[in-house]
Structures are given as C-alpha cells and as structure tokens.
C-alpha cells in the first residue's frame, strides 16, 4: 500500500509563496516524477510530503490518513537525498540498519534485511566500509539501500543522480527503474532533467513556480502538451515556437518539434540560414535562423553536412503542429 493524496497544498516561507495550491493523487505502485526548472518548488513539495517541512494549508494524506501533523519517521516514508546524507561515522551496514535498530527490531532481523538490500544493490562487499571509503555511485546505492531496508510505503527521491557523472547516471537510472519493478513500491522522484523524467516515470507532474502545469504519462505530455511551458519542457531538443500569423495559421504561436521538421531542397515553407551544426553521430542537430521566427532547431537522423550561413528550406507536416493562443494555452 502507498497511495498519496495532496489536496490544495500550499507552502509559504514568510511572505513568499513557494507552493501555490497543488492537488495530486499518486496511486499505489506508481512511479511519479516531479519535473520542473530549478527553484520551482519540487524539493519543497517533496519535503512537505516527507514531513520535513510544515504544510501552510491543505492536506497531505497517505493511504487515506491525514499526516499533516505526523512526524516524518511515523509516515512510513523513506527519502533519498541529493547529497546522499549518509551517516559519516557509521559503516554501510549500520547506515542501512539504523532506522530498524531505532525502532527496536531484533538484531537478526536487521541483519537479514540489510543483507537482502545489499544483495539487491550489489553492496555485499562494501558492508563494513564507511561512506568516506566509497565512490559517489556506491554512496548513492547505500542511500537507496537505507531507504529499501525500512520497507516504506512511499519512496521519495530528490534529484538522486545529479551528483553522478553521465555514464553512472544512466546506469543508476536503470537500476532505480529495475528496483521499482522488483519492489512494486510507490515512488516519487524529483528531477529537473526531463530525460530522467521521460525514461523513469509512469506519470509526470510538470511544475512551474509552485503550480502544477500538467500531469500525465510521458508520451501523453509529449504528444499532447497543455501549454507552451510543458511543450517546451518535455522533449529534447526543445520544441520550436514559430510565429503563427507569419505562417498564415490561426494561432499566436505554433509549436513544432525539431524531429518533425524536414529539409526540402528549394520548395520548403520556410527559408532559413544555418547558424550552427551539432554532429552527434546517430543524429545531427542543425540550428538555423529565420528573421521572423528566430532560432529554429532541426533534428536529422544520421550524418549530414551543412556549411554555416548556407540557406536551406524547411518543411513541416501540418498534422504535427501544436497551436497555442497568446497566453501560451493550447488551442488544438
């Protein structure tokens, strides 16, 4: 069990409102990702769920029980922090077992639980080491292990991969996804990286300035964004926003994804000058400039060669366009 309900939750630090009314339900066993730019209140929202931050108004319910005034340890929640937050003076084994020890669980049971978690995360060989003797990736696994051992209803992750290098990030991401499948537990995961959000989530919650912009499955957000913010945030490289009137379309802003633009020698709907080229091997990103629409990104499959300042013409499929009004809300 592990269902989370947030009802009209707000948070103010003094006069600044950081969370401005969030309604959300996270179902049992779901992998839910909070994504949004830095400073939009993701961590604050997560910490409110954890109980590390008081709720200014609204209700936080776990399995139908209101937990606003319940101490963090009593909420049956485990949290993995960005900085790992391991206890520096304890061995890996004691780090993982501390919560159970504090709860008065018999020693044999603690040993069994820590060994099991260690096996899941291949930490067996490191059990007697202290955090200072571990690499960043190993520390992160210990932090995850510490969360698993408690068998919580809800796992909370606050940007757990942001201190790891790129290769390790991918590897740990896969590990977390596998863990979610094996444990079947409810997980809430905070990140500012939309790739992490897309790859891990059952459901993504896009936040901006303390408000939920849109909630949905990754492909739902990709194919059906509610506004320019979500459209721009989900998908990499970012969606291009073109001037609708200049194109003769009935919308203030027209969005088109870089992968939906095609090159058309001579007969395209748009003419632009190549300004920069990024060759990634598998794909090529072409940045072009058009006087009315500004910088436009095109994503081409395979290897391509363009000269800077070369004039090229672009084409798009009308069915793959997104139309937005003046306020950035989606029209159709």
């Amino acid at each position: 069990m592990g269902t989370l309900n947030l009802t009209k939750v707000t948070k103010s630090f003094g006069a600044t409102d950081v969370i401005k009314g969030v309604d959300l339900t996270v179902n049992d066993g779901e992998f839910c990702v909070f994504v949004g730019p830095s400073g939009c209140g993701k961590s604050t929202l997560l910490r409110m769920i954890a109980g590390l931050e008081d709720v200014s108004s609204g209700d936080v319910m776990i399995d139908g029980r209101r937990v606003n005034d319940v101490a963090p340890a009593k909420r049956e929640i485990a949290m993995v922090f960005q900085s790992y937050a391991l206890y520096p003076h304890l061995t890996v084994r004691d780090n993982m077992g501390l919560a159970l020890k504090q709860a008065g669980v018999p020693k044999a049971e603690i040993a069994q639980a820590t060994d099991k978690a260690a096996a899941m995360l291949s930490l067996d060989a490191l059990m007697e080491r202290r955090p200072a003797e571990l690499s960043g990736g190993q520390r992160q696994r210990v932090a995850i292990g510490r969360a698993i051992v408690r068998r919580p209803k809800l796992f909370l992750f606050d940007e757990p991969l942001s201190n790891l290098d790129a290769a390790l990030r991918v590897q740990t991401r896969i590990e977390i996804a596998r863990l979610h499948r094996d444990l079947g537990a409810t997980m809430i995961y905070v990140t500012h990286d939309q790739v992490e959000a897309m790859t891990l989530a059952d459901r993504i919650v896009v936040l901006r300035a303390g408000r939920v912009e849109q909630v949905g499955a990754p492909m739902e957000l990709y194919n059906n964004p509610a506004n320019t913010f979500v459209a721009g945030f989900i998908g990499s490289p970012q969606m291009n926003f073109l001037n609708g009137e200049a194109l003769g379309l009935r919308a203030a802003t027209v969005g088109v994804r870089p992968e939906h633009l095609t090159l058309d020698r001579g007969a395209g709907k748009l003419v632009a000058k190549v300004s920069h080229l990024e060759k990634l091997g598998g794909e090529t990103l072409v940045y072009v400039v058009n006087p009315t629409h500004g910088l436009i990104t095109i994503r081409l499959f395979g290897e391509h060669e363009f000269a800077v300042d070369e004039e090229i013409s672009l084409n798009y499929d009308e069915n793959k366009l997104f139309f937005f009004d003046e306020d950035g809300q989606r029209l159709y």
Binding site: A71, P72, S83, P88, A99, A103, R150
Partner: protein, 306 residues
C-alpha cells in the same frame, strides 16, 4: 644529463620572518628556562652548574616536594572540575543553541560568551565581592529565598575554596567550548540530520547517535585546550586569593607556586633557579599530556568530511 636543481631561496626567505619571531619569542625563552633549571648559586653567590640537583631538591626535599605535590593535586582537581562541568555544560549549551526552535539564540550566545572576554582581574574581584560574607550579595540573595543556611564563606574555607575558584573559572570560560561545539554542530549538513529524522532518530537519541560522534574531534580539541590552559592557570587564583593561594595553600596550583618561587613573595626570597625548575616540571607535565592526546587519542578520532 643530470641538471642540478637551483637552490630555492624563496622558501627560506618566506619562512624566515615566522621562524625568527617564533624563535625569539618561544624557543629561546624555553631553552633559557630549561638551561636555568640546571644551575644554582653556591654560598659565595656564584653561578654553578648543578645538573639535576634542583630537581632532586624539588622532588626529594620534603618542604619543596610537599608544596609541589599539593599544587599538582590542586591543579589536577582544577582540571577535573573543568572537564566535568565546563565541557559538558558547554556542549549542552551548544546543543540548545543550535536548536532551530530556540528564539533569541544570538542573544544567549553573546551573553554566555561575554565573561570570556572580561579581564580576569574583573572576574576575580567581582566574584570575591559577590561571595564575600560581609559585603557580598550572595548571603542576602540566599536569605531572600530562605536558603541562608546553605551559605558558607566559600572562598575562605579550605575545603571549598579551590572548587569555588574552579567553578568561577568555568563560569568565565564556558563560552569557549560552547562556541567550538556550536560551530562543529553547524557544520553537520542539514540533510544528514533530516535523514536521521526520517529514520526516526530524533531528540536526545539523535544527539547521542548522530551529533555527538560527529563532534568528537572538536571535543578532543577542547579537552586538550582545557588541559593546557588549566595547567598554565595563574591569574584568577592570584587575583582572588593572592600569591599565597590561601586559605593555607588550599588553592595553590602550579602557576601560583611557580610565581612565589621565582619572584618571591613577602618573606620568601625569589629563586630563579628553583623557579625555572618548577617551570620545567610544568613544561614536562603539559608535554606528556599533549603527547598522550596526540598519539593515543587523536589518532583514534576520525574526522569526517561531509
């Protein structure tokens, strides 16, 4: 082709000022004192190398050794009171101050630290006045709460005087361990404390299981600073009880014993050679204590990087 490295003069040049100043102010006087303790005057007042004879006198002559062991025992008690009262109270105050729920913590911090920057002359004199049975306010205050029977002339009784002075010193200096521990507590990352909260380790058990182990290195430093400070102490006793460290030498510690011997006091003539001998003994005691700390304790304390 073996090319000789050029002599790196800049190292010598940059080190020179510190080395020279330190040598002039610390090394030369230290060796001067050690040297002085090996000489004495004969009947004709000529200086004579006597080897370790001064130490034989200090430890062997009953008059000297009685005074020395008395001072050493008093000093040990003085140190023990600091370790048992000043440091635990300092840690407790720091723990309270670092609690985010405490209001006016900056005020308390300053108020508790202020005695530390007061002159020992003021502290000694003020406490003498407070505790005086004749014009002090302590008897009156105890009377006001009906506890007059508890009052005793604490500074004047042999059995209480040393402990009273030690507690006055604790009152004056408790701000130092408090500040050091406070800084150490602040350096523990918030997330580690929050992780403990999530794990159900809260309140006092959080202090014992998480915070205390992480501030142990600071407690070690404080202990050794207290040790060195206490075994060099002199001023408070001198101001409150005079160089005779009364009543009946009950508050005599190594510092006051050294002072009387070296400079003389009232009828006693100053004896620089015996004074230097006592100073050397004090140096040896502190050296042994510090070495014990460095090699036996500090090597076992882990420092944590967060």
């Amino acid at each position: 082709m073996a090319q000789r490295k050029p002599v790196r003069w800049h190292i010598v040049v940059f080190l020179a000022p510190a080395v020279l100043v330190y040598t002039a102010l610390m090394i030369v006087p230290l060796f001067g004192t050690l040297n002085l303790s090996l000489f004495n005057l004969d009947e004709t007042k000529t200086r004579l190398f006597v080897g370790l004879a001064n130490f034989a006198t200090l430890f062997g002559d009953p008059r000297w050794s009685g005074a020395f062991w008395n001072a050493l025992a008093n000093n040990a008690w003085f140190f023990l009171v600091h370790m048992l009262v000043q440091n635990p109270v300092g840690i407790l105050l720091a723990a309270l101050l670092s609690s985010p729920r405490l209001r006016f913590s900056a005020f308390y911090r300053t108020a508790i630290f202020i005695p530390t920057i007061l002159s020992f002359v003021i502290v000694g004199f003020v406490w003498k006045l407070i505790l005086s049975p004749i014009w002090g306010i302590a008897p009156g205050m105890l009377d006001a709460v009906g506890l007059k029977s508890l009052f005793a002339p604490w500074l004047g009784k042999e059995e209480y005087a040393l402990t009273t002075l030690a507690l006055i010193s604790v009152w004056q200096f408790v701000g130092i361990p408090m500040m050091l521990i406070y800084a150490a507590l602040l350096s523990i990352p918030d997330e580690v404390i929050e992780a403990a909260e999530m794990d159900g380790v809260t309140g006092w058990s959080q202090f014992w299981k998480i915070k205390l182990p992480l501030i142990l290195p600071s407690i070690g430093i404080i202990s050794i600073l207290t040790f060195v400070g206490n075994f060099n102490a002199f001023d408070l006793i001198y101001v409150a009880q005079g160089a005779l460290a009364g009543p009946n030498f009950a508050t005599d510690i190594l510092g006051t014993f050294l002072y009387r011997t070296f400079f003389g006091f009232q009828l006693q003539l100053g004896d620089p050679h015996m004074g230097a001998t006592i100073a050397t003994a004090m140096f040896g005691i502190i050296l042994v204590g510090v070495c014990f700390y460095l090699f036996a304790i500090q090597t076992r304390l882990r420092r944590y990087q967060f």
